[in-house]
């Protein structure tokens, strides 16, 4: 990373993110990489509140709050307006949570990507509807407690794979990233900035509050997600070329789950099952990347 990138900041202190908020870290990193010629569109998500109430803002770039399901569409409109004004330099950035991307916002995102709208869509994923109090979304992982999957009805459905869904659109560029790997994340954002067409970044952003985890473990747990192959770091170009960016040691998933209160009900049998699912998904990814299974 260039020193200029490392030193510039586009977020103000005093925002109201929880202590240890992974979404705040993600925002810092992405904006450092993109720079000031950026316009942000933000559908309803935690950051809608983190950014501060009227008349404040925690951001140093122009930002438009938008309705929950409209991220992809509003961004398309901003892009069209900039194009008609002759501005091809400013990056249009849609910044949404997992709810506004995987669920209610999926239609607009799919439509925008199908049209190959020229924008960067960043989904910071804290794996539930955190802003409204930890309800489950389709990005909530298998095994998790949420307020709408409580007790014995913990989520027994796998996390939706948003990157693969967009890859099926032959999206120009899609990649996963993680707050514990800042250079990789910022590198991908900077790379995406130089491209045109639809670009998507799926960022793993810890929520210590919703995951029932001590705030100081935010980055460590995110790192563990990569090290256990639960959240691999990879890129897909034009829907066909897969590159795995980091080959972790493949630590067993147990410790990752045991550290988080949202998983404390899982038995050893459940964890063994989950380990198989993780291995299966990882092998599938390896095949797509043209590599031999582990």
């Amino acid at each position: 990373m260039q020193p200029e990138t490392m030193d510039r900041e586009y977020v103000h202190s005093g925002h109201v993110g929880c202590p240890g908020c992974g979404a705040a870290i993600a925002m810092r990193f992405v904006l450092k990489a993109l720079g000031e010629k950026t316009i942000m569109v933000m559908p309803a998500c935690c950051w809608s509140i983190i950014a501060g109430p009227y008349p404040q803002s925690a951001l140093k770039i122009p930002m438009l709050h938008a309705a929950f399901e409209t991220g992809g569409a509003v961004a398309s409109g901003v892009r069209a307006a900039l194009d008609v004004k002759g501005d091809s330099e400013t990056t249009v950035l849609a910044w949404a949570g997992d709810g506004g991307t995987f669920d209610i916002g999926f239609q607009a995102l799919s439509g925008a990507v199908e049209r190959n709208e020229n924008f960067l869509y960043v989904c910071y994923d804290n794996e539930a509807y955190m802003n409204t109090g930890v309800q489950r979304s389709s990005s909530t992982p298998y095994g998790a407690w949420t307020t709408t999957t409580p007790g014995r009805q913990w989520k027994r459905l796998r996390k939706k794979n948003i990157v693969e869904a967009l890859v099926a659109h032959r999206i120009h560029y899609a990649a996963t990233a993680n707050i514990a790997y800042p250079e990789d994340l910022m590198g991908k954002a900077a790379k995406a900035k130089t491209m045109t067409g639809s670009r998507f970044l799926h960022i793993f952003a810890t929520c210590p509050t919703g995951w029932r985890l001590p705030s100081e473990m935010s980055v460590k747990i995110a790192r563990m997600a990569v090290q256990t192959n639960i959240f691999p770091l990879y890129e897909v170009e034009d829907g066909v070329r897969y590159t795995i960016n980091f080959m972790p040691k493949g630590y067993l998933v147990n410790e990752y789950f045991k550290l988080q209160g949202r998983f404390k009900h899982l038995t050893d049998e459940d964890l063994a099952e989950i380990q198989e699912m993780v291995d299966e998904d990882w092998n599938l990814l390896l095949r797509k990347a043209g590599m031999a299974p582990a």
């Binding site: 000031e36 010629k37 950026t38 316009i39 569109v41 809608s48 509140i49 950014a51 501060g52 109430p53 009227y54 008349p55 404040q56 803002s57 951001l59 140093k60 770039i61 122009p62 930002m63 438009l64 709050h65 938008a66 309705a67 399901e69 409209t70 992809g72 569409a73 509003v74 961004a75 398309s76 409109g77 901003v78 892009r79 069209a80 307006a81 900039l82 194009d83 008609v84 004004k85 400013t90 239609q107 607009a108 799919s110 439509g111 199908e114 049209r115």
Partner: protein
């Protein structure tokens, strides 16, 4: 230049001449001809605009919210289900004070599927903070579309230009299409009072707690109040150049009328003919066309209807559990006027059913011959139903 064109295309010509910069639309009968023509204009370079072929009406309006926030002139069109789907964002567009212009073709709401004329779709959105203008013929549609931009960009409220399905959208009339130079003088380029600008970064639309929200809402209403005055000024400007004006309402032979019919949309055209015939027979009847529905022109209506004994409002719409919506608004406008006329409400033409001269005449006669309105609303021309679940 005078040309015979379809009602839909009058909208398209209006948007073209206004130099809309971003158009975002999703097809729905009977709006399709509007956007198809605009698509052609963009494709052949007649109009220098970006056309977003979005995947739903909700996204169509969302995209325009983004574009208008970036400071460009925008346009879309829809009808019925599409307008209903946009509902959330209709509130958003006015709350964000964006000068978006949208044409809505009045079409019935499902279920059952019905693509024909019915005003319930746009009237059900009367609380969303959009200026609403109801048109009677193709010329008015084109003129209103042009004026809509001037008005919107003055008061910073979105404007809905409304026309009846098929009766207006798919019929052909001769229309005077002004040249681009003339329109450019009437409609200078949009210079926004605020927009998304990296040179001057700002966040729009953030959380507004109880301590600040109410004042923002009052500001929207203040703009609506301004719109009443601005509408007159805009019409004045346009009339000086194009020689046409319509007024927020149009009173036809109301001064000495005992009964005044109140209409909107294409029913007005038919009513003009009925009034002429009735007058020829000596009936003291008048006609009030309502064009501007939001903001509701209370003063103009009181002035036009105040001296009559009876008023018969013809609604091609209904608010279930209450009454026809124009009738509601007229009653509200008159209720504090001492000695105001009795208001009769008639429901006709829902789902595209024809409102013929006979129907209108029947409405007049029933009003004339009744002492006072016995029901809130009289549903005209209902047929006997043989099968019901």
């Amino acid at each position: 230049m005078r040309k015979v064109i379809e009602g839909s295309h009058a909208v398209s010509e209006g948007a073209r001449l206004a130099r809309a910069q971003v158009i975002s639309a999703y097809p729905i009968t009977p709006q399709t001809h509007i956007v198809e023509r605009l698509s052609e204009f963009c494709a052949d370079g007649t109009l220098d605009a970006r056309f977003l072929r979005v995947e739903s009406e909700h996204s169509a309006l969302a995209a325009l919210i983004g574009a208008a926030s970036t400071g460009v002139r925008t346009f879309t069109a829809t009808a019925s289900q599409g307008l209903a789907l946009m509902h959330e964002l209709l509130h958003w567009a006015s709350g964000a004070r964006l000068p978006i212009v949208m044409a809505n073709v009045n079409r019935a709401l499902a279920p059952g599927w019905n693509i024909w004329a019915d005003q319930t779709d746009s009237l059900a959105q009367r609380d969303t903070g959009w200026i609403q203008l109801y048109c009677e013929d193709s010329q008015e549609v084109l003129d209103t579309t042009l004026q809509a931009y001037r008005l919107a960009e003055w008061v910073y409220l979105p404007v809905m230009v409304i026309l009846d399905a098929f009766f207006l959208s798919h019929t052909y009339e001769p229309v005077d299409i002004p040249d681009q130079e003339t329109v450019d003088r009437l409609l200078p380029p949009f210079q926004p009072r605020f927009h998304l600008d990296p040179e001057n970064p700002c966040t729009f639309g953030q959380m507004s707690p109880p301590g600040v929200y109410m004042e923002m809402r009052r500001s929207i209403q203040a703009a609506m109040e301004d719109a009443l005055l601005a509408f007159a000024d805009v019409e004045e400007e346009f009339s000086r150049v194009l020689g046409r004006r319509y007024g927020p309402v149009e009173a036809v032979q109301c001064d000495d009328a005992g009964v005044i019919l109140v209409t909107s949309g294409t029913v007005t055209s038919t009513s003009r003919q009925v009034i002429a015939e009735l007058r020829a027979r000596g009936e003291k009847v008048g006609l009030l066309k309502i064009k501007l529905f939001r903001p509701f022109p209370v003063e103009s209506i009181r002035a036009a209807l105040g001296r009559a004994q009876k008023v018969a409002v013809i609604d091609r719409n209904f608010s279930f559990g209450a009454s026809g919506i124009f009738a509601q608004e007229v009653r509200a406008a008159l209720c504090n006027l001492p000695g105001h006329p009795a208001v009769f409400g008639y429901i006709a033409g829902l789902g595209g059913r024809d409102v013929t001269t006979a129907v209108i005449e029947e409405i007049y006669v029933r009003t004339r011959d009744a002492e006072a309105p016995k029901e809130e609303s009289i549903w005209v021309g209902l047929q006997e139903v043989k099968h019901a679940t």
